[in-house]
């Protein structure tokens, strides 16, 4: 069995937020209340550790919606397993950010 990384409470919150549909940095910031100086470096580390993967939104879409392009994330298989393990470590995590709370994806 693969050795799963132990996540900090913050990293677990971010993973949970992405999993629940807040799939870009700014949305994670709004949902969690965490500042940009926390969220963006943390998401880089999560990507470095291959728990999430990112791709830039097409410029044409951003242009059409008149805003900066977003960097979209999704969990890898390792990310899903690590999140599952983190729910045991932080049992109150799922309550904080559930998929139901996501209005617009």
């Amino acid at each position: 069995m693969a050795m799963e990384a132990k996540l900090s409470h913050t990293a677990a919150m971010i993973l949970q937020a992405v999993n629940a549909g807040h799939i870009y940095g700014f949305s994670v910031m709004e949902m969690t209340g965490l500042p940009s100086g926390t969220v963006y470096p943390a998401m880089r580390r999560l990507e470095r550790d291959e728990l999430i993967r990112s791709h830039w939104e097409q410029q044409s879409i951003a242009d059409a919606e008149q805003r900066p392009p977003r960097k979209y994330y999704k969990l890898t298989r390792a990310g899903k397993m690590t999140l599952e393990a983190s729910r045991k470590r932080y049992p109150l995590l799922a309550k904080l950010i559930s998929s139901e709370q996501v209005e617009s994806i």
Copy 2:
């Protein structure tokens, strides 16, 4: 009006835990899942900033219960006001640790 300190999520969790009846370090650790290297330094800073105040349990009580003496904390008035402000900043905090969850004080 007094300038209230802005608490980190962790510091707010600890304040909330103490307020909810987890009035010594080890109990806060168990409730929150945070490690001792987080909880004890954080509680020192909270006391330095006069949001909580501590006093050592009487040795005779610890002896009678056959365990090390505990350092008991309680919120100051400034601590209660800061916690109240933090509930606005972290609206999901109260759900995490409510007084009802405390079995033994």
